[in-house]
C-alpha cells in the first residue's frame, strides 16, 4: 500500500469548487483519498499551485496521418532531437514528435490525459500501436464516421436504430472513444476531386446532406449514451465566410434532447470562424459564434489557437488540405481510406506579417475570451495544425495577460490588427479559469469521472506548478506563468512522480480509454449479419480481420454505456 501526501499547495480544483485554497491532497494506491496514514510520504508543495493533471481533448498525436507527416518532414525533426537519458528513450520533436517524446513533453507540462481526435477505422490498429508506445499519459482516440458508406446508407434508409447498432459495433471494433465527424460528406466527394461546402449540399452517389449526417449521429450519440459529445469538424474548413456553416452546424441539432453535458462539440473553430468573401477581406466571425455559444447549452467549442511558427497541417479533411496546399505550394500528402474517410498533410509557416495568419490568431483568442463560460471553451492548438502542443504555456500567458496580447498585437499585420476585435477585449483569465479550460471542463466533456479533479476517488494525476498563487500577478508576470506551465515542478501519474523540475523522473505505461455501448442482441445480430454480407463488397480486407482484439491494447480501459436501442 503506497501512500503520499501533497502538502500545503494552493489547490485549484474547479469541479469540486476549490479555488486556490491551501490544502493537502491524500493519495493511496494511485487514487485520491480522503486521508492517509502518518506513514505517508510527504511531497511539500508549499508556495506552489496544485491542479489536476491536464486533459487534452484534441491533439493529433498518433495514427497513420501523424506518421505520414513524420515520414514526410525530416527537416522538422533534425532541428529538435531528444537524446536518450537514464529514464527516457530518444526521439525527435518539433511539430510532429515521435511517440516517446510526445509522452515526455506532455508530462513535463503537467498533462496526463490526451485524446487523438481522428482515427480512420480501417487503420486504427496502427493508431493503437502508437498509443501503446506513448509513455506516461492516458489516451484514447475518436473514430471517424462522417463519410462512412454504412453510415450514409443507414441515414438514407432512415434506419436510426441500425445506425446506432453499427456505431456501437464500430466503436468496439476499433476500440474508439467517441464519434468524430470531419467535413461530413465532403471527403466522399473528394473521391472525385470534389467537396461539399454547405450544410445542405448533397453528397454525390449517396443522396444525403451534411445536415442529415450530423443530426443522425447526434441522435445516435444520445441513444447510446456515449460519454463524450459528437466531436465535429464542420464543412468548409479554412474557407472565407465559413463561420455561418459553423453556426448552422451547431443550430441544426439544437432541438435534439440533450443530457447534462453538451450534445455537440465543434472543434478548432479558428479554422471555421471566418467572415468575408475572399482571402483579402477575411474577418473574424468569433463574436457571432461566441454569441451563439453564450446563448445555447447544447454546444461546446475549442479554438485551435494559432501560434506564429512553422507547423504541420494534418486532418482527415482531404479536400481542404489540397485547397490549402494550392496556397502554400509546399509538400502535400493525401491518403484516402476506402469506404470511410481520408487524410491530408501539408507543411506550412504562420507569419505575424501575413494578414490572414494574423486574423486567424485573433479569431482563436477572441473565441476564448468572448465565450463567457469557461466550461464551454477548451484550450487547444489543434496540435499540430494551429501550433505544437508545447505552445500551450504561451497560449495560457495570452489568456491571463492583456499586456502579453497587446505586445504581440503591435507586431502583427497592421490591417489585421485594425480589423480584429481583440484590441478592445481586456478580459483576463484567472488560474481557476485556466484550470477549467485545460482540465476540469475537458474531463467533464469527455465524461471521464476519474479525471480533471482532485476529489476522493479520482486518479492521482496531479500537476504542481511553481506559481505562488496569492502573490503572483499573472497579468504582469505572464512570462513567469509561461515558464511555470512549460516545466511542471512535479507531475504525478497514478500517484507516481513522473516529472521533477520539468524533467522526466520515471516512465510509466498509461492506459487507453475506449467505449463499449450496449445495444439489444437482436438489433446487433441483424446489423452484424448485414455488415458481413456487404463487407467484401466495400473493403479490401476480410470482415474477420477488421476488429481489433482488446489484448491488442497494452493497457485497456473500457467505459461501458447502456444504449436505448
Amino acid at each position: 500500500m503506497s501512500e503520499l501526501l501533497v502538502k500545503n499547495g494552493y489547490v485549484f480544483d474547479p469541479l469540486n469548487g476549490i479555488e486556490g485554497d491551501k490544502l493537502d491532497i491524500s493519495v493511496r494506491n494511485g487514487k485520491i483519498v480522503e486521508r492517509v496514514s502518518r506513514r505517508a510520504r510527504v511531497l511539500n508543495a508549499s508556495g506552489m499551485t496544485v491542479m489536476p493533471g491536464g486533459v487534452d481533448i484534441h491533439s493529433h498525436i498518433a495514427g497513420s496521418k501523424a506518421n505520414c507527416a513524420r515520414m514526410m518532414r525530416p527537416e522538422d525533426h533534425s532541428k529538435d532531437p531528444e537524446t536518450k537519458t537514464k529514464h527516457t528513450r530518444c526521439g525527435v520533436g518539433h511539430t510532429i514528435p515521435s511517440v516517446f517524446t510526445t509522452g515526455y513533453r506532455y508530462a513535463r507540462m503537467g498533462y496526463t490525459t490526451v485524446f487523438e481526435p481522428a482515427t480512420p477505422p480501417l487503420k486504427t490498429r496502427h493508431t493503437h500501436e502508437e498509443l501503446n508506445d506513448i509513455p506516461i499519459i492516458d489516451k484514447g482516440c475518436f473514430t471517424l464516421f462522417g463519410n462512412n458508406w454504412f453510415v450514409m446508407e443507414y441515414i438514407k434508409q432512415g434506419r436510426i436504430n441500425e445506425l446506432a447498432a453499427y456505431v456501437a459495433w464500430m466503436l468496439e471494433a476499433t476500440k474508439g472513444y467517441a464519434i468524430k465527424i470531419v467535413n461530413p460528406g465532403g471527403i466522399e466527394a473528394w473521391r472525385w476531386g470534389r467537396n461539399v461546402r454547405r450544410l445542405d449540399d448533397v453528397v454525390p452517389n449517396f443522396d444525403v446532406t451534411p445536415r442529415e449526417i450530423v443530426r443522425a449521429l447526434c441522435q445516435v450519440n444520445s441513444l447510446l449514451n456515449l460519454p463524450h459529445a459528437v466531436h465535429v469538424h464542420p464543412n468548409g474548413l479554412a474557407e472565407p465566410g465559413n463561420y455561418q456553416t459553423t453556426i448552422d452546424t451547431m443550430e441544426c441539432v439544437h432541438d435534439i434532447p440533450t443530457r447534462e453535458h453538451p450534445l455537440i462539440h465543434v472543434t478548432h473553430v479558428q479554422f471555421t470562424g471566418r467572415k468575408g468573401w475572399a482571402w483579402p477581406d477575411v474577418r473574424s466571425g468569433a463574436p457571432e459564434i461566441a454569441d451563439y455559444v453564450n446563448t445555447h447549452d447544447h454546444v461546446s467549442i475549442d479554438p485551435g489557437q494559432l501560434i506564429f511558427t512553422n507547423v504541420t497541417w494534418m486532418t482527415a479533411d482531404g479536400p481542404a488540405m489540397f485547397a490549402l496546399f494550392k496556397l502554400t505550394k509546399t509538400k502535400w500528402f493525401n491518403a484516402d481510406v476506402e469506404s470511410e474517410t481520408g487524410a491530408g498533410v501539408v507543411s506550412a509557416t504562420y507569419k505575424k506579417g501575413n494578414y490572414v495568419n494574423a486574423i486567424q490568431w485573433g479569431i482563436g483568442l477572441e473565441l476564448a475570451l468572448l465565450v463567457k463560460d469557461p466550461w464551454k471553451v477548451f484550450l487547444t492548438t489543434d496540435h499540430p495544425n494551429g501550433g505544437p502542443f508545447t505552445a500551450y504555456p504561451r497560449v495560457i500567458s495570452w489568456l491571463v495577460s492583456n499586456g502579453a496580447r497587446q505586445k504581440l498585437l503591435d507586431k502583427i499585420n497592421k490591417t489585421a490588427k485594425r480589423r480584429l476585435n481583440l484590441p478592445g477585449i481586456d478580459r483576463e483569465y484567472s488560474l481557476h479559469e485556466i484550470a477549467t479550460v485545460t482540465r476540469a471542463a475537458t474531463a467533464r466533456s469527455l465524461g471521464l469521472s476519474s479525471k480533471g479533479h482532485l476529489g476522493a476517488g479520482a486518479d492521482a494525476d496531479i500537476a504542481i506548478y511553481n506559481i505562488d498563487a496569492p502573490k503572483l500577478d499573472l497579468s504582469k508576470e505572464y512570462k513567469a506563468v509561461k515558464k511555470a506551465f512549460a516545466r511542471a515542478a512535479f507531475t504525478l501519474k497514478g500517484g507516481r512522480v513522473v516529472v521533477k523540475n520539468g524533467e522526466v523522473a520515471q516512465s510509466v505505461q498509461g492506459r487507453t480509454f475506449w467505449t463499449k455501448p450496449e445495444v439489444s442482441a437482436e438489433t446487433m445480430g441483424a446489423v452484424t449479419k448485414e455488415l458481413e454480407s456487404k463487407f467484401d463488397d466495400y473493403y479490401s480486407i476480410r470482415f474477420a480481420n477488421y476488429p481489433i482484439e482488446e489484448q491488442y491494447l497494452t493497457a485497456s480501459q473500457v467505459i461501458s454505456t447502456k444504449g436505448e436501442v
Partner: protein, 276 residues
C-alpha cells in the same frame, strides 16, 4: 597568423564527428583543452587528443587562426562546421559535411572531399583540389534551403546534385558532374567546365547553370530561348557562344541553362526555333 597542426594518430575506419575542428572553437583555447575535447567516434565519446596529435598555436581570435590537418581524414565528418572566420587546410582527403553551415573564412583541401560539402553554407570559401562527392552546396534532408552564399571551387569531378536547393552563391566545378547539377536551384550560379551527365537544372525555379562541356541533353521541361555570346558568372564574363534554355517549365521556373555550342552539337536542332 597562428597555425594549429592536427595529425591523425591512425587511420580511422569508424566515422568521427569533429565539429570542434573549426577556428571558432579552437581559437583562444590551450592545446590541453583542445586535446581533452570529446568527440564521437562511432558510438563512443573519445578525447580529440586520442585521435589526433595536436601541435602549434591556436591564436587568440577566430580570424587569425589556421587549422592544418595533415593526413587522410575521410572518415572525419563536419570539419569547419559553422565556422565564421580563419582558415582550415586539409592536406589529404576530407570527410563528409565539410564546411556545413559555414559563415566565413576559408577551407582548402589538397585531396578529395566527401558528400554534402558546404551544405547550407552562408558565406566563405571552400576549395577542393581533387574530386568532391554528391550534393555539394546542398540542403538538409527534406529542407528547401541549400547553399545561401559563398564560393565553392572543385578542381576535379563532382557527384550528383551539385548545388541542390541552392539559394545563392557560386559553385565552380572544373571537372565533370554527374546527374542533376543545379536541381531545385532557386538562385545563384553553378559553372561546370567539364561535361554533365544530364538532367541539369531539374525543378529549378531561378538561378543559372553554365556548362562549358557537354550538358548531356536538356530536359523536355526546358525551352530553348536564344544564342548568347557570353555568360555572366558573378562579375566574370565567360565567352561562348552558348545555347540558352529556360525552365523548369513544370515549376513555372525562370532558371537559365547555358550550354556552350562548341561542345553541344547534339543540341543544334534547337536552332530551327530561331528561324521562326
Amino acid at each position: 597568423m597562428a597555425r594549429l597542426t592536427v595529425t591523425p594518430v591512425r587511420e580511422f575506419k569508424i566515422p568521427v564527428t569533429a565539429h570542434c575542428l573549426s577556428p571558432d572553437f579552437v581559437s583562444g583555447k590551450s592545446l590541453r583543452e583542445i586535446e581533452l575535447t570529446e568527440v564521437w567516434e562511432g558510438n563512443r565519446r573519445v578525447k580529440l587528443g586520442s585521435l589526433f596529435e595536436i601541435q602549434g598555436d591556436t591564436g587568440l581570435t577566430t580570424n587569425d587562426c589556421t587549422i592544418r590537418v595533415t593526413g587522410n581524414v575521410c572518415a572525419v565528418r563536419g570539419i569547419g562546421y559553422e565556422m565564421t572566420g580563419g582558415s582550415i587546410e586539409v592536406d589529404g582527403d576530407a570527410g563528409m559535411y565539410l564546411g556545413e553551415r559555414m559563415r566565413g573564412g576559408s577551407i582548402v583541401v589538397s585531396g578529395n572531399a566527401g558528400s554534402w560539402l558546404g551544405t547550407r553554407m552562408r558565406n566563405g570559401l571552400i576549395e577542393v583540389k581533387g574530386n568532391a562527392g554528391d550534393a555539394i552546396g546542398g540542403s538538409a534532408r527534406g529542407a528547401t534551403k541549400g547553399m545561401l552564399g559563398g564560393i565553392v571551387t572543385i578542381h576535379g569531378d563532382c557527384g550528383t546534385e551539385v548545388g541542390a536547393w541552392m539559394r545563392n552563391g557560386t559553385i565552380r566545378v572544373k571537372g565533370n558532374c554527374d546527374l542533376y547539377a543545379g536541381i531545385h536551384m532557386k538562385n545563384g550560379t553553378v559553372v561546370v567546365e567539364g561535361n554533365c551527365a544530364g538532367r541539369v537544372g531539374a525543378h529549378m525555379t531561378n538561378g543559372k547553370v553554365v556548362v562549358l562541356g557537354n550538358i548531356g541533353g536538356v530536359l523536355p521541361s526546358f525551352q530553348f530561348e536564344e544564342i548568347r555570346d557570353k555568360a555572366k558568372a558573378g562579375d566574370e564574363k565567360i565567352s561562348g557562344p552558348f545555347y540558352v534554355f529556360s525552365g523548369d517549365v513544370n515549376e513555372e521556373g525562370g532558371g537559365k541553362l547555358f550550354a556552350r555550342i562548341s561542345s553541344n552539337s547534339d543540341l543544334k536542332w534547337n536552332e530551327m526555333f530561331l528561324e521562326m
